[in-house]
Subunit: 682 residues, 2 copies
């Protein structure tokens, strides 16, 4: 029962710490009347988006819960059907609440960061970081708590076997991924619609600065940072986190259960404790620089995690040296995550060669800037994919050497990457909070000095942002590999022969999905932006005195357009990710679906990495030029770099990050529906 108490302690401790930090932030000065007004508008917009998203999500979740309950009830028994449906609803409700709290914290924090920035960098940094930590700790705590409580009820309350209990909890994971799909893809469309529209009309057509309060889209843009980057990235990582824990539990339960089922919970718990301890190191290192403090936090969390992991596996009760077959694969996953993050950083950092070359390419025009960023993005795919391959092979064979099932090893590698997700999300959510603080500072006229401080805060988050994205994609890859393994177990595929036309066709079709879904999401942003651009132009045309700053724009209208459009545009890609695996299974059979999943994982990772890194590099190339290189702001090179940045926006913030969630959703769909469809077609 130690798993129950440890996980309970980790989950509840994490939630309490998050609430404590929230309280600490709320006590801080929230600035002038004007600042509070702006902050209020952002909060209103963000909450309006969340309300509308949750209403749509609720309809979707109820329908899906019904289907899942029926399917599972039919295949197993009514009680398990109802339990799975409830797990599903709980999964989406828990993560929705967590995202809500995190976003609420983010919008309350940004104005306070702006206010504190008047007193300097060291006053502002902890507020921004703690704001991110509320998100990180709350969302991870709630997720772990949800899993452990459900498992406890099913196992102890209902007396189910480990295997039954774990497979019903899969519903919880599926529910979390439903939210992730909405938050990441919908939020991604929202944020980039607002961002692109605000820039195109404001900066390019009218020549007014970024975050200028005269721009009707400025609030929508700020809201977008919160709904897309804070809530979205949090949801994405949480989705993988939950899936990796449950996939490992399922595999463990099929290997005999007992400690193999509960060990993932223990590992996740010590990971969460490590993140909490890591927070202390961030606060302690702040005297040096914010960037180093954040990195210090990540690395010390890793270190603490490895030590605790050693203890928990060493004394897990696994006979002989078998504990090494869990410990080493988990460490290899963690190491792969860090390396992937560092290579992402290399390809996107403002201080490294690739981004500098993209900036230099801007001097020969927008086309060469695009081509260079595009190419480096493609090149950047190679190292992480090699890392993922290496981690898979290492985890597989080390597990085998120590008599642990190789798939259990791979699943633990995924878990290794994700255990420290509490820290990762905290450091990541810090980014958009600083970005928003900058927006608030600019709009409320706090002066260039204060804006510069918020800028420095923002820049400090870059490495951790890159590392986060690397973690998110790498862990999604390993998690989906674990889900792939779970699928083949489930439908009883012993070996999957690649030399078969159905498997080949499945791979081809699966491989086409990620590029297709990316394209649909990008086209959505384009269509949605067109609507919003029309609206911004209309306001400047029809509201007298707006350009002169004598009248206020109608912010709410732009927020509305972004919200309604994002949810509408989500329908086609969302439906496709559910229908395509089902159709492949129904038409070509279970081997083809396995091929489909394999194909989608491969191109999913390639496109996710390429889009994230190209986008990041274009963004930083623009910032590099704005620092005064190649002619600085307003030069031709800068204009070219702005084109690249705009192209990169939906790459890195809409399509790229949504792919993780979509391949997870496709894998979960396969898992949940395959047994029924196989029954029907048999």
């Amino acid at each position: 029962m130690s798993w129950f108490f440890l996980s309970l302690a980790a989950g509840i401790g994490s939630i309490l710490l998050a609430l404590g930090l929230f309280g600490y932030i709320m006590k801080k000065d929230s600035g002038t009347e004007k600042m509070r007004k702006i902050s209020f508008s952002i909060k209103e917009g963000a909450l309006a988006y969340l309300r509308r998203q949750n209403r749509t999500l609720a309809v979707f979740v109820v329908i899906m819960a019904f289907i899942i309950g029926m399917v599972s009830g039919f295949l197993k028994n009514p009680i398990m059907g109802v339990s799975m449906a409830i797990s599903y609803v709980l999964g989406s409700v828990c993560t929705t609440i967590a995202a809500y709290v995190g976003m609420r914290a983010a919008v309350e924090t940004n104005v306070r960061v702006a206010a504190a920035a008047q007193r300097g960098l060291k006053a502002a940094f902890p507020i921004a970081f703690y704001g991110g930590a509320v998100m990180g700790l709350f969302v991870v705590g709630v997720s772990l708590l949800g899993i452990v409580v459900l498992f406890f009820i099913f196992k102890m309350g209902f007396g189910w076997s480990d295997s039954d209990a774990a497979s019903v909890i899969l519903g919880f994971s599926f529910g979390a991924s439903a939210l992730a799909l909405f938050a990441k893809a919908g939020g991604g469309i929202y944020t980039k619609t607002a961002d692109i529209s605000a820039d195109l009309v404001g900066k390019i057509e009218l020549g007014i600065p970024e975050d200028d309060p005269r721009n009707p889209a400025v609030i929508a843009d700020n809201v977008g940072d919160n709904v897309g980057d804070v809530a979205g990235m949090g949801a994405d990582l949480t989705d993988s986190y939950i899936a990796s824990i449950i996939a490992t539990m399922i595999i463990g339960s099929e290997l005999g259960g007992g400690i193999l089922t509960t060990l993932p919970l223990l590992i996740a718990s010590v990971g969460l404790f490590s993140s909490m301890i890591g927070l202390v190191f961030v606060t302690r290192s702040i005297k040096k620089s914010p960037g180093r403090a954040l990195n210090m936090g990540t690395f010390s969390t890793c270190f603490i995690f490895v030590v605790l992991l050693f203890l928990i596996t060493r004394f897990s009760g696994l006979e002989g040296s078998r504990w090494l077959g869990v410990f080493l694969p988990t460490v290899s996953g963690l190491a792969a995550g860090v390396i992937i993050g560092l290579t992402s950083d290399y390809f996107t950092s403002i201080e490294k060669k690739p981004t500098k070359q993209v900036a230099e390419a801007s001097t020969t025009g927008a086309a060469i800037n695009i081509l260079t960023g595009f190419s480096y993005g493609l090149v950047s795919v190679a190292p992480p994919v090699l890392c993922i391959s290496a981690a898979t092979i290492v985890a597989w064979y080390i597990a085998k050497i120590f008599s642990v099932d190789p798939f259990y090893g791979v699943a633990n590698a995924a878990l290794g990457m994700l255990s420290i997700v509490g820290m990762i999300i905290s450091a990541d959510a810090y980014g958009p909070i600083s970005d928003n603080a900058k927006g608030v500072a600019e709009q409320s006229g706090l002066g260039d000095d204060v804006v510069a401080i918020t800028d420095m805060l923002d820049a400090a988050g870059n490495t951790s942002k890159a590392i986060t994205k690397g973690f998110a994609i790498g862990s999604a890859a390993l998690t989906v590999l674990a889900l792939f393994a779970a699928y083949t177990h489930l439908v009883d595929i012993q070996s999957l022969d690649l030399i078969s036309p159905k498997v080949i066709a499945g791979i081809f079709i699966g491989a086409v999905m990620p590029p297709l879904l990316s394209a649909l999401l990008i086209l959505s942003v384009g269509r949605n932006s067109e609507r919003m651009i029309e609206e911004i132009r209309r306001q400047f045309r029809e509201i007298p005195g707006l350009m002169e700053g004598k009248a206020n724009p109608d912010y709410a209208k732009c927020v509305d357009i972004a919200t309604a459009g994002a949810l509408k545009e989500l329908i086609l890609p969302g439906v496709l990710s559910i229908i395509a695996p089902v159709l492949t299974l129904a038409v070509f059979g279970k081997e083809a679906l396995a091929g489909f999943l394999a194909g989608s994982i491969v191109t999913g990772i390639i496109f996710a990495l390429f889009m994230a890194n190209s986008g990041g590099s274009w963004d930083n190339a623009k910032k590099y030029i704005e620092e005064g290189h190649h002619g600085g702001k307003g030069s031709d090179a800068h204009k070219a770099a702005v084109v690249g940045d705009t192209v990169g926006d939906p790459f890195k913030d809409t399509a790229g990050p949504s792919l993780n969630t979509m391949i997870t959703v496709m894998s979960l769909v396969a898992e949940v529906f395959a047994p029924l469809i196989l029954l029907i077609i048999a």
Copy 2:
């Protein structure tokens, strides 16, 4: 022996017809003194490039021939080793000569098309088309002749078994792909270096028109159309053509030989006859419109081919209904080729929705133009991939139903797509000839009317160009699938279990290769362009009177830069495509290499299609605006569309088409070197 005489007749007939057409063209008027001078410069530049390419190629071929001879001599016996080395050299020499003749014809034709354009569209069209046909017929005739003569010598002269003879001829295919790699990737870097540099300095910086004789890069640009588009695309299709014939022969020979080994030669022969007859239809339909005449040629060739194919398979001597197991898969391949071509046409045609939307997106700036073209390019991947999957499944199961080996069916589907390649290359080479004719007309001041006629000629080639690219990619996919099958036979993999970390790692690494190689090629174009842009700027700065048209630019210097740079930049991607499969095999074993090939096929096709179609769409969106829509030439929308077009240039003419060749090369490397490496590591 009927296979020998029929193939001999087809090969020799095709070569004679090509030479006859060449003679016909040479008798036509070659225009004014000025036109001849320009044409002479283009010819000089193109030949200079070819000379330098062939010198580099020669070194490469000699080294590779030595290695191949040693490997094969060591594995089998010295005579077979020497024979394979000779086949390899012959493969590259034959295709080099064919490409040389084709290009020679192209450069002689363009000035005569320009001269004839003064007398109207109907006078100019047949010359342009016959110029392309010289390339199409000569290159395909020489390829078929080479295969059939070698096979005859090995089988009849040396008395080898079908299987030995066919496997040694694989050297011929490998030799052809060596040329294809240089012609397609090197030529692709060349042509886009010149194109982008000429445009960026000429059109954008200095505001002088396209093809203006004052631009020092203008000759290099015209040369590029010939070395990249004529020679390159021809080499690409020929490479797949040869590989598909030989792969089918190898599979056939392993199934017992006899008619199964020689049937591919018979099918290729009737395909070549169909192409020759198809030429008549083009000439006959010319009264309607050039575009319809070209389509008429393609479709009538398909129809004649199906009839002849029916006869040749029905009376092939295959017992019972087994002939249907060859006939139907071949037709399914042909049908898939046409459908892929038509969908490519839909996504790139100036008259269809996607391209019009890209044009419309240009009104909101370059970034949205890029995003829209990028997205439609990704969407365009789905239909062809579904077609290829369907053709694979259909060919497999139909072959099985009629007691034919399923892999033989898939190989025949590839052959079906490629049999009519004589017609396809003819229609394709017509494109750059018209394009060059336009260049000559503009530079020699023939007036707007004549330029407009050459423009119409150029536009007429668009559908066939799109169909060609579809054919090239689709057939490469099926050919490589056949090579993949041949590889698994060769290294004795009975079933390839996807649920294995080495296979998964192999798939991941293989899948990364196409994006990586694309990126390297695009970066090459960027680097090479930088050198050339410097040179063009230098000439305008240092040659007095150049801008005023009083002095002549130094064309040769630009031709030199493009040539030297293209060959230098080719080294890294070329070496990678040879080393990567060898390393994967040596480190992870033969199953991993099979996974590697599968992974590279999947992403190779996706990237090749996406890049070809995005590029085509951006190009036509620009043309659409130049027709007067959205403000026409010089408008902001036009400037945005030019950015898209420039980004698309290396996509569609360098990276995209090179991928076919590179995945073929990787498959052939696997085939040739795997047995030795397995021996060494065993």
